[in-house]
């Protein structure tokens, strides 16, 4: 479990998120809100890619903020993340992209490549091993990002707007794949501007507005609130 | 397939012709848009390109002055003519290093920025959008930028020349104990309006080169974030290459005339 204690994040002198408190990583959590609401910032603060301006982040009891670089690296390795714009390494082919996290964690090359191939097969990209990311379609790139995120068997999976830019058919397939791969264990946090397709699969919904948490709870209950609907309606249009 | 080297040469020639043609097109359409230019918009653009570059340019000029004194000192001391330092430094500033170094730095400051801004607008669809509502993006956006950036660079060149000469006088006193009085006297005696004009002519030519190349580069950009960066980098390199060639051509041409 990840516990947040009055977490705030600033970009320069601008407040971007917070204060946020509570536990994350148990039930599947969807984070919704308009642009600039702080969704990406929240995800990055959870896994230590972004340092808080104040407040604390405890990951399975370990204090992320006070951690030295070695502990921070170890805590980060408990996470996998699918990024908003894929963030694939464009100088490496598909296999290289997926193998990199394993190689960097010290795995021997043959073993890393084997595991990478398995991950590619799991997401249905086994025929695309040597393709460069720029040659892949939008849906394929999302799947590649997913393979890279899970190949090192992280405890938590963060997905930042994983369905952005996909047509409804591809979108549904990627979503199915995401949930199939993660097989219902805890620790899944998905951020989305439009939470629609996620709602029936997520157990909890957190709505952010301009960096502040607006509401949190069971999706149906949260969406019933007029304030929440007003904020999200702006997103739909 | 046969014809290897010829195909490469042929392709390069076509690419070169394409680029030259593209530049020619930019020139032609800019000239055509001249009468329709809005003077207020032009002034605003000149300020946009030039004004916040002034601190940079002043710093540049101070360094040029200092470096030039060290350089002129070496040259002139060989022949024991300390009194000529003002002239030697002034000459090289006005005719050569003022224009050349300013222009090279401006390929970054103005050229890269211009190419990047146009590329972003192009990729973001703003240019298409303007065409869609019947506005000619060239007259509204592009032509003013070409002219404004040329004027801005030429003006900045003047600032550099002025500040660099004073900086050289200062460093002359500081480093080799030539007093400003005799510095400016020798400057005045042997330099004339011809040298200033030669320098200014170069700055206008350099400014035009940077503007045209960066504009053309920005307009043909295709892609995303990576393309913007690539276009800015290409604009900078192409401008610099052409600048050095122009520098030589103009120097040689002017020394017969001015």
């Amino acid at each position: 479990m990840i516990e947040l204690r009055e977490l705030t994040v600033h970009y320069g002198s601008e407040p971007a998120l917070g204060p946020v408190s509570g536990g994350v990583g148990g039930p599947t959590l969807a984070v919704a809100g308009p642009a600039r609401a702080g969704k990406t910032t929240l995800l990055k603060a959870l896994c230590g890619l972004v340092r808080p301006a104040s407040g604390g982040v405890l990951v399975d009891g370990d204090d992320l903020v006070a951690a030295g670089s070695r502990l921070r690296g170890e805590i980060r390795s408990r996470f996998g993340m699918v990024f908003q714009n894929d963030a694939l390494f464009d100088s490496l082919d598909a296999l290289g992209n997926v193998a990199l996290p394993l190689l960097r964690r010290g795995l021997a090359r043959p073993e890393a490549l084997l595991k990478a191939r398995e991950a590619l097969a799991l997401v249905g990209l086994d025929g695309q091993e040597h393709a460069l990311p720029e040659r892949l379609s939008g849906g394929m790139r999302k799947r590649l990002g997913l393979a890279r995120a899970i190949v090192a068997r992280p405890r938590y999976l963060l997905a930042d707007d994983p369905l952005a830019g996909l047509d409804p058919g591809t979108s549904a397939r990627v979503l199915d794949l995401l949930f199939d791969l993660w097989k219902g264990r805890g620790g899944l946090v998905i951020a989305a501007a439009q939470p629609g397709p996620l709602l029936e699969r997520c157990e909890e919904l957190l709505v952010l507005d301009a960096g502040r948490p607006l509401a949190r709870g069971a999706p149906a209950e949260v969406l019933a609130r007029p304030a929440v609907r007003a904020v999200l309606e702006g997103v739909e249009s | 397939m046969s014809g290897g080297p010829f195909r490469t040469i042929g392709r390069s020639a076509i690419e070169l012709a394409n680029h030259v043609g593209g530049l020619g097109l930019v020139i032609a359409r800019t000239v055509r848009a001249l009468p329709r230019l809005d003077p207020r918009e032009l002034v605003r653009s000149v300020v946009h390109f030039g004004y916040d570059a002034i601190p940079l340019v002043v710093a540049l000029a101070v360094f040029i002055g200092g470096i030039l004194v060290l350089f002129a000192n070496v040259n002139v001391q060989r022949y024991g003519a300390k009194s000529l330092i003002g002239w030697a430094a002034g000459y090289t500033i006005l005719r050569e290093f003022g224009p050349l170094l300013t222009a090279l730095v401006m390929t970054g400051r103005v050229g890269a920025r211009n190419a990047a801004e146009l590329a972003s607008m192009n990729i973001g669809g703003q240019l298409e959008g303007l065409r869609g509502v019947g506005v000619d993006p060239f007259a509204l956006l592009v032509a003013p930028r070409v002219i404004a950036s040329t004027i801005a660079i030429a003006a900045l060149g003047l600032v550099v020349n002025l500040v660099a000469v004073f900086s050289a006088a200062f460093f002359g006193q500081l480093i080799i104990a030539v007093d400003p009085g005799s510095f400016f006297r020798s400057l005045e005696q042997m330099l004339g309006w011809r040298d200033a004009l030669a320098g200014s002519a170069k700055m206008v030519a350099f400014g035009l080169t940077i503007s045209l190349i960066s504009t053309r580069a920005g307009l043909v950009a295709r892609g995303g974030a990576r393309a913007v960066g690539r276009v800015a980098a290409v604009a900078v390199v192409a401008s610099s290459a052409l600048l050095t060639a122009l520098d030589y051509g103009i120097t040689v041409a002017l020394e017969r005339v001015l």
Partner: protein, 245 residues
């Protein structure tokens, strides 16, 4: 969004420390030496050829007014070329090309979140992206400056002989060239080789936003690289002047 010397010093320290700790990425360093050195060769070589021609033209003009025969200024010009103008003009040309290329590339990586993805994949942008480019600069830039200065020298020899009828070899005459000049050359070459990639990588790392941020970072990177070349030139020249070298 200017780049400060303090940031550059921190970048240098952090990149070196982390690269040494994690193991130096040799393959990437080789790639960067090629990218930085080899791909800038055309611009630096061509630019210095034209510059050499310009210098000769100016020399002829000044010689006519002061001393009469162009070859007399040959040895003095050669010394100034090695000590001052060669490294600096070639350095600015290198700064322009390398600064733009590296800032654009690194800024694009930052803005598309590739650097974040690298960190989360147990990689380190300082060791894997910054360090190879710094080493690439330290090796590539001095090489470029040597080739560029040689190109300018040969051009002055050829142009003074064939265009002005003087004894061109005077422009290769090392009478005035002493150890201090050679030292000045390499001090500047190494200084530029370090400063250019540092400034460019720092601009790239600081990019925030969308495609516009990539353009802004490229502009900042090129300008910072150029200015550092000039600042280092003045500092090193002045230092050597005062210590009598």
């Amino acid at each position: 969004m200017a780049v400060s010397p303090l940031q550059l010093a921190i970048l240098l320290g952090r990149s070196t420390r982390r690269a040494l700790r994690r193991g130096v990425p040799r393959g990437e360093i080789v790639r960067q030496v090629h990218e930085i050195g080899f791909r800038s060769l055309l611009l630096v070589f061509g630019g210095m050829v034209f510059f050499g021609a310009v210098m000769t033209a100016h020399g002829a003009y000044q010689a006519r007014k002061v001393v009469g025969d162009l070859s007399i200024v040959g040895p003095a010009y050669f010394e100034v070329l090695i000590r001052e103008l060669g490294p600096t003009i070639a350095g600015i040309l290198a700064a322009v090309r390398i600064g733009a290329a590296i800032s654009a590339e690194v800024a694009a990586m930052q803005v598309t979140e590739q650097l974040d993805a690298l960190r989360l994949s147990a990689g380190d942008p300082y060791a894997e992206v910054a360090f190879p480019r710094i080493v690439g600069g330290l090796i590539g830039v001095p090489a470029l400056l040597v080739i560029g200065t040689a190109a300018a020298t040969l051009t002055t020899v050829v142009v003074s002989t064939y265009a002005y009828g003087a004894d061109g070899t005077a422009f290769m005459d090392p009478t005035f060239v002493d150890l201090g000049d050679i030292f000045a050359f390499f001090a500047k070459a190494l200084g530029y080789g370090l400063a250019i990639p540092l400034a460019a990588v720092q601009s790239g790392f600081s990019a925030r936003g969308g495609p516009g941020a990539v353009g802004a970072a490229t502009t900042t990177g090129v300008v910072a690289s150029c200015m550092l070349v000039l600042i280092l030139d003045l500092l090193i020249s002045a230092l050597l002047f005062y210590t009598g070298l």
